[in-house]
């Protein structure tokens, strides 16, 4: 799509024919629609206080889990939150938000988001699919046009946060969004502790510099698996862990204990963050409840609002909010 919504017009050509040709008319209509969209994007930019992109180098590392988790955790704070799911390769946000099978709701030319758990507003590419199994094959320009439309034509209302879930990798979508939506606060990069995922997340960080969108931080997902149990208060527990290691714990006064198994190599997300000098926002445990939640439509944060995963999300959100400044540059004078 052209960047300039206005077609050139010769001011001396007073003798414009009274009737424009159908093609000309169509062009004018398109230009008008484009201009309206651009204005509405600016308007939307103002109504949404903070916009956060969620990216990963690889698929399946938990980008959508993190996007929905961030949104729900922010909503738990009482903030108004929206999620824009433009992962065309596998838009699974609706499922995680209990909105499976929803279709796009359009009213007088505006798209209205669906409301998921905790009142989080959701727009997803999945709303355009006939059935869950329809593969979405989009040609580049159509896809990017749909994204612009999703940004410009959605009636979000006032939001404190908009979380945007992207397809994996460094593709065109982030660029389109970064160019269409003004004042993006930055991006969160999701990775797992494995080497391959880390390598890809390094790519995302470099990519962010070329987009001119700051990296708000790195989240390490599926970081460890916590086993909890009961034993007589004060008793010592030993658990045989992978690689011949032994994990030890002591049951507390209530007779509860927990140990964490590192499924992948630990701490890689933190190291990547340090290598690039970007913030490390925190780690999320491996929690089978996420998988169940994805299947039955009740997100982990909703099913267990005070469980370990919800607590981990709250810590990540706190670290994220520390990076997002309401008044950027307070204290720095630029002259």
């Amino acid at each position: 799509m052209s960047d300039s919504p206005v077609t050139t017009h010769d001011p001396n050509a007073d003798d414009t024919p009274a009737e424009a040709s159908p093609q000309e008319q169509k062009k004018m209509e398109q230009a008008y629609a484009q201009m309206k969209r651009k204005m509405s994007m600016e308007e939307i930019g103002k109504k949404i206080k903070h916009k956060v992109m969620v990216l990963s180098g690889k698929g399946g590392v938990g980008k959508s889990t993190v996007s929905t988790g961030l949104a729900l955790s922010l909503a738990q704070q009482g903030l108004s939150v929206g999620i824009l799911d433009i992962d065309i390769t596998g838009p699974n946000v609706p499922k995680m938000m209990g909105l499976d099978g929803q279709r796009l709701h359009v009213e007088s030319g505006r798209i209205h988001p669906a409301k998921g758990h905790l009142g989080v507003k959701v727009i997803s590419m999945a709303f355009l699919l006939d059935s869950e199994d329809t593969p979405v094959v989009w040609r580049g320009p159509i896809k990017l046009g749909a994204i612009q439309q999703f940004i410009g034509d959605v009636e979000w209302g006032n939001l404190d946060y908009l979380i945007i879930d992207f397809p994996p990798g460094t593709s065109d979508e982030p660029l389109t969004v970064a160019q269409s939506l003004p004042d993006i606060d930055g991006m969160v990069i999701v990775t797992t502790p494995q080497e391959v995922a880390l390598l890809d997340s390094r790519k995302s960080i470099t990519f962010s510099e070329s987009l001119k969108v700051p990296v708000l931080g790195v989240v390490e997902n599926m970081s460890g698996y916590t086993i909890s149990g009961k034993a007589p208060p004060g008793s010592d527990i030993e658990i045989a862990a992978p690689a011949g290691k032994t994990l030890k714990a002591t049951a507390n006064d209530a007779g509860e204990f927990s140990v964490t198994l590192d499924i992948f190599k630990k701490g890689g997300g933190k190291l990547t963050a340090e290598e690039f000098g970007v913030p490390f926002l925190g780690a999320l445990p491996f929690d089978p409840g996420f998988v169940r939640g994805g299947d039955d439509g009740v997100h982990r944060i909703v099913s267990e609002p005070e469980g370990p995963s919800a607590v981990a999300f709250a810590a990540i959100v706190a670290a994220l909010q520390e990076q997002i400044v309401d008044d950027p540059g307070a204290g720095l004078e630029i002259i």
Partner: protein, 125 residues
């Protein structure tokens, strides 16, 4: 300023309080009252973006980048604050992509190599 416990982070970097754009350099003032100047040429030569960084891997390419930067018309950049950890500079010509972390600018102010001798991280691109 938030600090991370990475080893490449500069210890005890004071908070930048003033960024004064002069004709060919910037005068930086830090919260502890210290002042430094960094020329725009130095700033632009050390651009951390994915395109410019690899060019500083080799002496010849780096000198070339330097010459290109010096050949650009002298101008004051537009400055934008990135998150709460970096600044971005917009120039009418040349590269405006890099996000300069405050640590990088602090290194430049102290005449240290902000790349630490390894500007290009393998695996990125």
């Amino acid at each position: 300023m938030k600090s991370f416990d990475g080893e490449n982070m500069t210890d005890e970097m004071p908070t930048m309080s003033r960024f004064e754009r002069r004709e060919t350099d910037v005068l930086l003032t830090y919260a502890d009252g210290s002042e430094f100047s960094v020329t725009y040429d130095d700033l632009r030569h050390s651009c951390p973006c994915a395109k410019c960084s690899p060019l500083r891997n080799e002496d010849e390419a780096s000198k070339n980048l330097r010459r290109q930067v010096e050949a650009l018309p002298k101008e004051k950049p537009k400055v934008r604050i990135v998150g709460n950890y970096a600044l971005g500079f917009e120039w009418t010509q040349g590269c405006s992509s890099g996000i300069f972390r405050f640590e990088r600018i602090w290194d430049l102010a102290n005449r240290r190599d902000p790349d630490n001798g390894k500007p290009y991280v393998h695996g990125a691109w």
